[in-house]
């Protein structure tokens, strides 16, 4: 969570609100914040830390591990209409990539603002595509896979 906290200013600049959720109680969140997070991120984690103590929220999001009694590492990007645009679920041993999260936010915001679609690896300023029948079979004229790297 501190990796997300460290990039929080960038996310806020994109009008993104972050909510973290685990099966820990809010009391444990408070002690974790005071005991450890504030030593890793100035001021501690700046976003709300939610408690899903019985896993029921994780269940409807498909991330609750009943055997372990915890929520798996799941990340959901939700647009201003409350629609899930992206999700990523990882087993606990591998952490997230905040760069990719921010890239996806930028891409989904571009799509929402312009109606264009973004090819693989798209970043702001790069060519996006206008979906139309004319584009069928003609993507090669305007975009190459190397651009997504």
């Amino acid at each position: 969570m501190t990796a997300v906290a460290a990039r929080y200013a960038e996310l806020r600049a994109l009008d993104v609100e972050v909510l973290s959720v685990s099966t820990d109680s809010r009391f444990v969140h408070k002690i974790w914040q005071a005991d450890e997070l504030e030593r890793m991120v100035p001021g501690g984690v700046p976003f709300p830390m939610l408690s899903d103590q019985n896993g029921r929220i994780g269940e409807i999001y498909g991330v609750y591990d009943e055997a372990a009694g915890v929520d798996l590492r799941g990340r959901f990007l939700i647009d201003p209409d409350g629609v899930i645009q992206a999700m990523e679920v990882l087993t606990p041993a591998v952490g997230r990539n905040v760069d990719e999260l921010i890239r996806q936010v930028q891409a989904f915001q571009h799509v929402r603002a312009t109606g264009e679609v973004t090819p693989s690896g798209w970043r702001p300023g790069q060519t996006a595509l206008h979906p139309s029948p004319d584009l069928a079979g003609a993507v090669w004229k305007v975009w190459r896979p190397q651009q997504g790297q």
């Binding site: 969570m1 501190t2 997300v4 996310l11 994109l14 009008d15 993104v16 609100e17 972050v18 909510l19 973290s20 959720v21 685990s22 099966t23 820990d24 109680s25 809010r26 969140h29 408070k30 974790w32 914040q33 709300p48 830390m49 939610l50 408690s51 899903d52 019985n54 029921r56 929220i57 994780g58 269940e59 409807i60 999001y61 498909g62 991330v63 915890v70 929520d71 798996l72 590492r73 990340r75 959901f76 990007l77 939700i78 647009d79 201003p80 209409d81 409350g82 629609v83 899930i84 645009q85 992206a86 999700m87 606990p92 041993a93 591998v94 952490g95 997230r96 936010v105 989904f108 915001q109």
Partner: protein, 81 residues
């Protein structure tokens, strides 16, 4: 958002609407809840207790309509992968 800086015993509703079920009275009554989170579909609403700027509050996902939201689940406090 409600200003309820609650104490020890306040409960949050958890999932709201959709396939959400009321909290079971006993563990053995717990049923498998259908997963309702899918891309392109409405994010299931819920209410949860939270630590917000050092205070305790109940929050709903629907409080954030009109904004982009990143909802991050993680396995537990004091873990650091």
């Amino acid at each position: 958002m409600p200003e309820n800086d609650d104490g020890c015993v306040s409960t949050a509703r958890g999932p709201i609407g959709g396939n959400a079920k009321a909290a079971p009275a006993r563990q053995e009554e717990r049923e498998v809840t259908a997963v309702t989170a899918r891309v392109g579909a409405a994010a299931p609403d819920f209410e949860a207790s939270a630590l917000v700027a050092g205070r305790f509050k109940n929050l709903r996902l629907s409080d954030y309509l009109g904004h982009w939201v990143v909802l991050c689940f993680y396995p537990g406090d004091f873990t650091f992968v």
